[in-house]
Every structure is written in C-alpha cells, then in structure tokens.
Subunit: 148 residues, 2 copies
DNA sequence: GATGGACATGGAAGTCGTTTTCAATTAGCC
DNA sequence: GGCTAATTGAAAACGACTTCCATGTCCATC
C-alpha cells in the first residue's frame, strides 16, 4: 500500500457519489497530492477487484466509481442530472437473477442492474433534454467541465 | 429506407444472438453487400432509437445488438463464453425498478438489467478464465477474431 | 427529361476513456 | 546500508465510436 493508493481511497471516501477516474485525478491534483492518471486507473481497478468500490457505467460507457460503505454487494439509484446516488434494496432482483439463471441451466451467473432517474431536487430545473448522464448541469449548478 | 439499412436489418435478423457493429459490418462484407462502417453504426443507432433492436454492453463496454422479435421491452440472459442469448421474463424487475424509483422521489426512472453466465453447452469446456465476454472461444469453437 | 433540394453514404480524420510500455523510483526485507 | 521485486507515471498506443465533408441517391416540381 503506497501513499498514492491511500490518497485515492481517501479522496474517494470524501465523495458520497459516483465519480469518474478523471474526476478523481483532478480532485487529487486540487488536493495537492498529484497522482498519475495511470496510477489512479490502476488503483481503481484493484479496489474494484477486491470489492472496496462499486462500479457503474454511464450512458457514454465511462466507468464511475463509488466507495462501498458496508460490505456486500449493492445497487444504486443515480440522478442523471446531478449525479446524486443512493443505494437501494435489491434482494428481489438478486433472487430473480439467480432463479432465472438456474432455470436456464446457466452457471456462474452475473448480473448488472443500474437505476437512473431525475431526483426531486433536479425535477424543477427540468434540464433533462439530452444530457447523456452527468454531462449536463452537475452537482446542482456546478457544471462539471470534464475538459479532456 | 435505403438498401443499406434494409441489408443491416436483414443480416441482423439472421443472427439469433447479439452481435457488435463491427461483426455486423464484417458479415455484410462477407455477404457481398458492402456497407460502410459508418452507415452500419448509423443504422444501428436508428434501429435502437425506434426500438427495433435491443442493445447491451459487454464487459469491455462494446455495444452489442440483437433484433427484437416481438414488440415490447425485453431483457436477456447471455453466455459469456459463446454469446448465445435468450430473452427472460423480467416483470418482477420492472415492478421493482418502478417502485424503488417512486419511493425515492425520482422521475423518469430508467433501468439497465443484464444477465450473463456460462451456458450448459459451454460449462464442460470451462474456458471461463478471463474472456471479457466473447473475446474468448465464441460460437462454440469458432474463435471470433474481432481483429481491429 | 431536366433541375434542385433534402437526405443518405462512406472514407478519412478526430475524439476520448482506457491500457500498455518502459525507464526511473520506491517499498519492503535481509 | 544494500538488494530485489513491485510501483509509479509520462508518453504512446489502443479501439470503439463519432464527426467531417465531398459525393451520391431519391423524388417532387417545372
Ligand atoms: Mn446484485
Ligand atoms: Mn426492463
Ligand atoms: Zn439530481
Ligand atoms: Zn455458451
């Protein structure tokens, strides 16, 4: 465990919502702790492999990461407008996935379940024209530039 | 509707499983009907927008397309080894998604649900080491090169 | 049959998240 | 301190996908 990986995990813990690798890299730069982008990707991949972070893909296919609060597998409901996210109870889906896979004679069944919508705070703004997930007004006003 | 789009739709109908845009392009070339890769992408996007094809993303983020047999929204169970896919009943998940979104005060809730596993025909081969979805032995033996 | 405009095509070039490369640095151990 | 294996990170490569734009095709109108 190097100081770079520790920094990645700490900054990730400071975000309560999903962030991209590049956003995380920018946050680390802003915090003074410059960490190479390559290292950020490597750290995130390792953290995802060990289950310490959850990963989703936005509409553009970009991977977004969020620190897993408690142990165990979770699914989330995320606002397409501001990025706010919250874990949801998904036992129903877990059982459904297992049953469907077993009935079809499949082994090692895996599932991907992602919920998105427009949160109560974003509905009035009604900016939901196109924003392919988080490219629109982000964090309730602060447009996330996402330059490169 | 041009002959290019018709060809895309027809070849897509000949595949009973999910195929990528590039695979479809190669199939069209092999069938003598050369269609530009750009046109294939455009046709698939249009077909997806009008609901005539379903779209999933594999582990690598690549989009895979499959002609929708009947009207209405569907979810699929796909073999990570050979690509074989079959629609599954998902009313349970539809209701769950709607309820969870409503309870959280979200509007315009959308969901992504994808099931993958190793099908009965692929289990003996047990080639499930790493193949990040269809990059391994595909179509039961015929390695899909997927060169570029 | 000619004409013009709206739309589709497709090769080439660009975009962009992510991975690979590889020389330099660092962590951990004797 | 010295040694070795792992980690770092800037630069380059990768690859799916999109955008550009010159050319082609359809079709209503004259
Ligand atoms: Mn689950
Ligand atoms: Mn559904
Ligand atoms: Zn919101
Ligand atoms: Zn199979």
């Amino acid at each position: 465990m190097t100081w770079q990986r520790a920094a990645v995990l700490r900054v990730l813990g400071g975000c309560q919502d999903f962030v991209s690798a590049q956003e995380l890299h920018a946050l680390l730069e802003a915090a003074g702790r410059g960490v190479g982008l390559t290292t950020v990707y490597r750290a995130l991949r390792a953290l995802a492999a060990t289950g310490r972070v959850d990963v989703v893909r936005d509409d553009a296919g970009e991977r977004l990461y969020r620190r897993r609060v408690a142990d165990g597998h979770r699914h989330y409901l995320m606002c397409r407008c501001c990025g706010r996210s919250q874990p949801v109870a998904a036992e129903v889906v877990e059982e459904w996935a297992e049953r469907v896979g077993r009935d079809a004679g499949f082994a090692a069944v895996q599932h991907t379940v992602e919920l998105t919508g427009i949160c109560a705070l974003c509905v009035p703004n009604a900016d939901e024209g196109e924003p392919p997930c988080r490219s629109g007004p982000a964090r309730h006003g602060e447009h996330r530039t996402h330059s490169n």
